[in-house]
Amino acid sequence: MLAILLTVLFDGLAYGMLLFLISIGLSVTMGMMGFVNLAHGAFAMFGGYVATTLMQRAGVPFLVTLPVAFAVVALASIVVERLLYQRLYRRGPLDQVLFTVGLTFMSVAGITWFYGPSQQPVVLPAFLQGQVNLLGLEVGIFRLFLVAVGLLVAAAVVLGVERTRFGAKIRAAVDNPVMATGLGINVGGVFALTFAIGSGLAGLGGALGIQILGLTPAFPLKYLVLFLIVVSVGGLGSVGGALLAACVVGVIDMMTKYFLPEIGSFIIYAVMVALLMWRPHGLLGKKS
């Protein structure tokens, strides 16, 4: 029984890591820059398509496609940010919602045009397939890989924000944009770069997630609710919060599927509502 519990827990964590990778960028853009980017899922999808295209058409190995997906999506997001989003920073959140949902619709149709509506295949390299015995637990190698990548990225993001000069600039810009500007920090530039990294991580998550989340043009709409749950429950702009919330969502989802399949998604929504009533700013969110 304990072994089952641990296996399910582990699967939930692996799933949570994916959610974390994709959601963290959304949390950052909404929390730090106050921009409601509901097209965030489209960046993740874009990363997925970059990866499958490279694998299928150019025979690039899976592991190589991951950093490429990150970089391509990050660069593309800079273009989108400078060209479009920048004009909307001063607008209300409702305009931002309308705009980014419109962009999502366009990207869904655009991807369908190029790739067709059906699921993209992904074949993992042999060394990521199958299961290993880890301390007596049978765990999927790919899921182990996911947990590792997720923790690595979480650590890198936390260290990057906490330990680097650029991270200090981000924190300063968020703490007090006026003062940061007065001291010579280009707040707009810092935000643009932060946005790019967040989007890049979504792209990475999209590429990593094909195996588990699947990849179709419907991706950005299908998972939007899940990403929003992670962001709101974690607390806007909080890296640790997003990680915690993603793990909570992943584990609860896996647990209910295993132990209470009849109840379906009830529990996850009920838990979200309860958590938000308890802590409206999220588990680790700051009061604004």
């Binding site: 000069r165 003062m179 001291l183």
Partner: protein
């Protein structure tokens, strides 16, 4: 980008090019207009006391120099170039060092990070500001918010010094501080005065102290300048000072 403003003095910038010149500046926030028709000139190495009651626009004037307000009219020149055209985030590189009234220490940064994140190379180094404010070195791993008011004030000044500015904008640096700390800060500011490379504008409600530290003084009332002259003159005419400050 723009403008002839740079940290290095322009070739033609001899004695007759002022460090800073404001002409007919009016500015405010959103719809509120706080400053009206401000004219002000500051020479290289000059120090200025900016006086006036609460809410007359002293801080707004400082913020306007930093590009943090809405400029409604007028011209601002910095070392012969157009300051208005310099984006707000480049003004520190041009030589303006801001110590805001609220101090605005970044709460999520440590003391050391607060200092290092925007530091620019020059004669002021981390060691030198630590020499000036040894307290900061003791507390360098604390978060910005864990400091006392006085320490925060030191940090704000040290942070601005590490920008290696030509002009330091000190907005009520002595406000609400314990007397010992005030002494320490006054000493530090006095020390800076000796350094002819560094000008400063000192905003104070405590007129006397400010006048003692500066060569030139300006008194503001309701968004306008009502006195512009030598600090000494005002220091030796308390009645005039009281009248200007609204206490007569």
């Amino acid at each position: 980008m723009s403008t002839a403003v740079s940290a290095a003095p322009a070739a033609s910038a001899t004695g007759d090019t002022p460090l800073l010149r404001l002409e007919g500046v009016s500015a405010g926030y959103d719809r509120a207009i706080i400053l009206e028709d401000i004219n002000l000139t500051l020479a290289e190495g000059e120090t200025l006391a900016l006086l006036g009651r609460n809410g007359v626009g002293k801080s707004t004037l400082i913020a306007t120099l930093m590009g943090a307000t809405v400029l409604r009219g007028g011209r601002m020149q910095w070392r012969g170039g157009d300051l208005v055209a310099v984006p707000a985030h480049r003004r520190s590189a041009a030589g303006l060092g801001w110590v805001p009234q609220e101090r605005w220490i970044f709460p999520s940064l440590t003391v050391r990070e607060n200092l290092a994140v925007t530091a620019r190379p020059g004669k002021w180094t981390l060691e030198k500001v630590y020499d000036l404010f040894p307290r900061l070195q003791e507390r360098e791993d604390n978060m910005g918010t864990q400091l006392s008011g006085g320490e925060q004030q030191m940090l704000a000044i040290a942070r601005a010094l590490l920008l290696n500015p030509r002009l330091l904008l000190l907005d009520e640096p002595l406000e609400g501080l314990a007397p010992v700390v005030v002494e320490e800060l006054v000493r530090a500011i006095g020390q800076m005065t000796l350094d002819r490379d560094l000008s400063f504008i000192l905003v104070e409600q405590h007129a006397r102290q400010a006048l003692e530290l500066t060569s030139k003084a300006v008194v503001m009332d309701r968004g306008r300048i009502i006195y512009d002259g030598a600090s000494d003159t005002l220091l030796h005419n308390p009645d005039h000072l009281n009248q200007l400050m609204g206490f007569a």
